[in-house]
Assembly symmetry: C2
């Protein structure tokens, strides 16, 4: 296991210490480094919290900042944070306007966020939830509620965060987050595994020439394992599956070509080149383009393509400025 | 070779097509995609050009944009672009105020940039050059002119780019770029090799448990190969060598903890945690902190630490806003 770590059991704690040293715009509450919150809460604003396992930077904590999220409960590597940690984040970020939870569709996270929401009610904090389920590979059409949340949650964060920054109320911010969720789909492909520090060996095996279409960001099985194809063919497979969702017929989208950790940026641009061709052929305009590492699985080589269908409202909110340790967007 | 590519010989061309599709703020001149320039030249401003081999994104082209660079000649993977390409970039970006070349200390780049500068003179364009040589591992103290340029060139770009944006003249921008160069040192460590697409096998071999201190970003030999140590010990080795340069005794620095491509962000933060401790012990303040992938060697696992000693002028220029496809900094 070749990693820059000290003791594997200190991986998350020391990573968080680095985060706080590097980024004074975030801090922690309840004397628990896993309860990451903005250092500058905005009075009266709807709070937005997320949370999930570590090992996915910039997910989840990297999007706490102006114009996006207010807090994040940080779990162990690929492990849910606790309900108690989520509650502490909720209490800190509530400014009297209520709190929206946005997180991915994983059993542990659901159980803990639901419990945190109940506990928050006892503290007279109103909580709503939107559960990201953008991974089109992880269940068939008609069973979208079974799908995992992956990189496309970025669009939900961005739209909801901009809405909250505009001063909209909890119901409106929740409506927008849910619309962003419903309009977003992701398809991924993995070329290599990753190593959880406390486990010390690859999460799964994959052959020297193989790729797995639809693999999850913790190594969950995908829908097809076969020999690696030319980049354009890989994109075509992913786009075909995305287009089958009947969401992207024309109009405007935002696109995210996300690296899973071990894939060079150059390759992401080669993928995007083909994505742009396929969108253009279909008469779809890529209004906003994000290319880079936005949701990773540590050193996993691979990539995902996310699309969000834009109406005027989502277009405006995706375009809005934001400033977090891992995401900065200037005023247009 | 597991890469998202089509034909290896089209790697750079297709990567560039993706760049132009994704980032309308950059375009190309002379009908050659390798001659990347800003789409919005600023009348009267000193132009800044860079250039170098591909395979290092965000280097070099990723820093063309507001507050940084105006153009970049893009070579093949790990290959210098031609003098002709540099000249075309120079002609496009010259706004009558002259052009500064900032590039790394590699033989091919020096020969070609020097030739481009001579050719530019025939076109009545005044050109100055600052050659980045921040890699402290690549030659001993006293022979700094033999050192390679690596990730620390970011600070030279940033300082010079902000100076040019402030409207300073070519002599001033050159003076500042040279001061930034003289105040910057980098030490790197590699854990794995990388694969040049047209070659198809790893550039060098490195054992399952080994690291190489001081390896260059093309796989040039370092100063010590030994078993991988705990992250804190790795940082201590790198910092010891940086401190030996007698530049960083107290005062303010900016810090860059750079991932070489295959190393997860989490690990970079674990490294930064120790960097911050070592700086603090010495009474040095990290005024600006950059953590992420700023200069890569495709999928190489590894990291580097760069420090720039700041005076008030460099502090102001590093802090200034910038907006490029791979680097955005808001107004403080």
């Amino acid at each position: 296991m070749k990693k820059f770590i000290n003791k594997p059991e200190n991986f998350v704690e020391e990573m968080l210490e680095g985060i706080y040293l590097a980024h004074p715009a975030v801090t922690y509450t309840a004397n628990d480094k896993h309860c990451l919150v903005t250092a500058t809460p905005k009075p009266g604003k709807v709070g937005i919290a997320t949370g999930g396992g570590s090992g996915h930077l910039p997910l989840f904590l990297g999007y706490v900042g102006d114009g996006m999220l207010d807090g994040c409960a940080v779990g162990g590597v690929f492990q849910s944070p606790s309900a108690e940690q989520m509650l502490e984040v909720t209490k800190y970020i509530d400014q009297g306007a209520g709190v929206l939870y946005i997180y991915g569709n994983y059993t542990g996270d659901i159980i803990n966020f639901d419990m945190a929401a109940e506990l928050a009610e006892f503290e007279d904090i109103r909580v709503t939830s939107v559960v990201g389920n953008d991974d089109a590979a992880s269940s068939v059409i008609g069973e979208e509620h079974k799908r995992r949340g992956v990189a496309g949650i970025l669009f939900v964060y961005k739209a909801a965060g901009a809405a909250a920054a505009e001063g909209l109320d909890l119901d409106e911010v929740t409506r927008i987050a849910d619309k962003a969720r419903l309009n977003t789909r992701t398809m991924g492909v993995a070329l290599s595994s990753c190593i959880v520090p406390e486990i010390g060996h690859p999460t799964f095996e994959i052959g020297e020439t193989e790729m797995e279409i639809g693999m999850g960001i913790h190594g969950e099985p995908g829908i097809s394992r076969r020999n690696l194809e030319p980049a354009d063919d890989v994109v075509d497979s992913l786009m075909e599956r995305l287009f089958a969702e009947s969401l992207y017929e024309d109009g405007n989208v935002a696109v995210l070509v996300n690296g899973l950790g071990g894939t060079p940026r150059e390759e992401l641009y080669i993928l995007y080149r083909r994505v742009a061709e396929r969108l253009s052929e279909r008469g779809i305009t890529a209004k906003h383009v994000f290319i880079g590492e936005y949701a990773t699985a540590m050193e996993m080589a691979g990539a995902s393509i996310s699309l969000i269908k834009l109406d005027d409202e989502l277009d405006r909110l995706i375009a809005a400025p934001a400033n977090t340790p891992f995401f900065t967007r200037l005023k247009a």
